[in-house]
């Protein structure tokens, strides 16, 4: 679901060209280029270029449309060259996959920041710092756990006593979330539904506007 580049009629519509040169958008495009060209040693120039063109197109679509679905699609697509690189690597350590997961979330955050700069949005530095701090914590903890999983996997210990309850717990959290979402969901034709950037109906003229209505 795309959102407009301007919510207010007084504002000129923000051009996609201007949106693409904002720092998060430029970073997202650069990251896409780097990741897509990362498969160059394994699949050759032609294959890498095809991956790059599709990757850039998906990232561009995500940035210009402001759609979360397009953002997830573009990010998921980048997992293809990453998977190719990881599978082609010699050691095939789980740490690489954990880093790929963090990259997934980081790239998604980057795209989400491009959404925040839409409609002439001004993003404060503290928000960027918060995102980076969150990703840092996430990255560190993931790598530590991945190393732990990797080392435990090398032993003969049975880890199912930990993983199975964790999986069941996670599924329960998902089920609870589903219940919350179902309970709070508004109908398709409900006027209260709101999309970012959507212009809402202004309040009707009342007595505070027109003294003749008093």
């Amino acid at each position: 679901m795309s959102e407009p580049h301007s919510q207010n009629p007084g504002e000129k519509e923000m051009r996609t060209r201007d949106l693409l040169v904002t720092p998060p958008a430029a970073l997202a495009l650069a990251a896409t280029t780097l990741v897509c060209m990362g498969g160059l040693p394994f699949i050759g120039l032609a294959g890498s270029l095809v991956i790059l063109v599709i990757g850039l197109a998906l990232t561009f679509m995500a940035i210009s449309s402001g759609s979360h679905f397009a953002a997830v699609l573009a990010t998921a697509y980048l997992m293809l060259p990453i998977a190719l690189m990881l599978e082609s690597a010699t050691d095939q350590s789980p740490v690489g996959w954990a880093v790929a997961g963090v990259f997934f979330l980081g790239f998604l955050s980057c795209l989400q920041l491009t959404f925040a700069t839409r409609r002439f949005g001004r993003v404060s530095d503290t928000v960027v710092a918060n995102e980076l701090a969150g990703l840092g914590v996430l990255g560190f903890a993931s790598v530590v756990l991945a190393v732990l999983v990797s080392s435990l996997n090398a032993t003969t210990l049975d880890l199912n006593w930990l993983l199975v309850p964790l999986t069941i717990g996670l599924l329960l959290v998902g089920g609870a979330g589903l219940a919350v979402a179902a309970a709070s969901r508004t109908g398709e034709h409900d006027k209260r539904r709101w999309k970012p950037g959507e212009r809402m109906i202004p309040p009707a003229i009342g007595a505070e506007d027109d003294p003749l209505l008093r």
Partner: protein, 416 residues
């Protein structure tokens, strides 16, 4: 206010579940490792806080009255109960205002307490302007949950068009006995000299002019005009609004009506408003400073309402007998012309000030000529029923137009 689980929550739950299930079932630590960041993001966000929210304590403009082109600040006070890592504020404003920097900002609050955010707005068009809505979206650090609030901003800002202070008034045909600034035909205790004549029995002794009487050798008295007030109804044509950008017929109408209302109220006239559009807005003639505020606010709230079909005829029974009607209208609508003719037939003195901007230079000579001929036909139609129409170029001050009214009405009355 509504709470949502975002797409990130579902993404993390799905990917983490798939990673765990896949890792256990396939015995692949790589699959498990890929799901780990998603699992951790979910757990960390739950541990920190879900659905952080802020409360909009107030959102008030720095001024509630301004002139076109002014810049006002909208100060939004937010009560932040706890550290909030992501707050998205977006302001929706009416077409009468625009932002000087940004109407959309994303910030975070690292401390609890009261925080303020200031939006700077330029008022570009006259009328009642307001920032309509403030949308506040708050998310947790990992963006799993969000709270969306739409806050209605109730305080209107009245944006005045540039108006002028009139000096001259049109002479009114009928006056009331109440004291005012209009010279009456009646003689009495006024300030303006009417006549000097010999003393007649019954004249008050204090009206005898001593020096003149001494010079003439007989008692002479001076008579003066009584200064009286009148009822004035300003007929506002809001049937249509034609023009480009802010230079529109309705703006000129409101500008002239405001100047007229101020001038006549200054002269102790009772002033009322009859706003003719898709409906009718009627303000009875009244007097005083409070009345001026009501009139100006009512004029600023004038809008063109969409209509379907023909506009209904209205009755003018509420207009006081003898009230002078000042219509400010481009005379484009037949309904308005019919209304004015009806008012004239009811015995009211009707004067029309027609805001009449010259067509742009790129308009063909033939079109300009048709425009002039049409205007002349309308003027003659109204003149036939005794209505005086004076054109006014809105690029020029209103004062000369009022002077032309004053001069022209005298001639018109003499010709009747």
């Amino acid at each position: 206010m509504s709470r949502h689980l975002t797409y990130r929550f579902w993404l993390c739950v799905t990917t983490a579940s798939c990673g765990l299930v896949g890792g256990v079932a396939l015995g692949e630590p790589a699959v498990l490792a890929f799901g780990l960041p998603f699992l951790l993001a979910l757990l960390l966000s739950m541990a920190e806080e879900w659905w952080p929210s802020v409360t909009v304590n107030s959102a008030e403009p720095s001024t509630v009255r301004a002139v076109e082109g002014d810049i006002v600040k909208l100060v939004v006070e937010l009560d932040v109960p706890a550290r909030t890592p992501y707050v998205d504020l977006e302001l929706q404003v009416s077409a009468a205002m625009e932002s000087t920097d940004s109407l959309h900002r994303v910030t975070s609050f690292t401390t609890a307490g009261r925080h303020t955010e200031t939006f700077s707005l330029r008022l570009v068009r006259w009328g009642v302007a307001r920032p309509d809505w403030l949308t506040v979206v708050t998310r947790d650090r990992f963006g799993m949950t969000e709270v969306v609030q739409h806050v209605l901003l109730p305080t209107p800002i009245r944006v005045h068009p540039h108006t002028e202070r009139l000096i001259r008034m049109a002479p009114l045909a009928r006056t009331n006995p109440a004291v005012g600034d209009h010279r009456s035909r009646r003689r009495g205790s006024g300030t303006e000299l009417a006549e000097v004549r010999p003393f007649r029995p019954g004249d008050p002794l204090r009206s005898v002019h001593p020096r003149l009487s001494a010079r003439r050798g007989m008692p002479m008295v001076t008579e003066r005009h009584v200064e009286e007030s009148s009822d004035v109804v300003i007929y506002v044509d809001s049937v249509q609004d034609i023009g480009e950008d802010i230079e529109t017929t309705l703006r000129w109408t409101v500008t002239a009506s405001t100047a007229l209302a101020k001038r006549h109220l200054r002269s102790m006239d009772r002033v009322g408003i009859l706003d003719r559009g898709a409906g009718v807005r009627w303000l009875e003639p009244s007097l005083g400073r409070r009345s001026l505020h009501t009139i100006v606010d009512a004029l600023l709230a004038t809008t063109v309402l969409p209509t379907a079909g023909r506009l209904p005829a209205i009755s003018f029974g509420a207009i006081p007998a003898g009230a002078t009607i000042f219509a400010v209208s481009p005379l484009l609508s037949v309904v308005v012309r019919n209304d004015l003719a009806t008012l004239r037939r009811r015995g009211h003195e009707v004067v029309v000030i027609r805001p009449d901007a010259l067509p742009p230079a790129d308009v063909s000579y033939k079109a300009q000529r048709i425009f002039r001929v049409q205007n002349e036909i309308k003027r003659r139609e109204l003149a036939d029923v005794g209505i005086f129409v004076v054109p006014w170029d809105p690029a020029e001050p209103l004062e000369p137009a009022i002077r032309r009214v004053a001069a022209g009405m005298g001639r018109m009355r003499a010709g009747r």
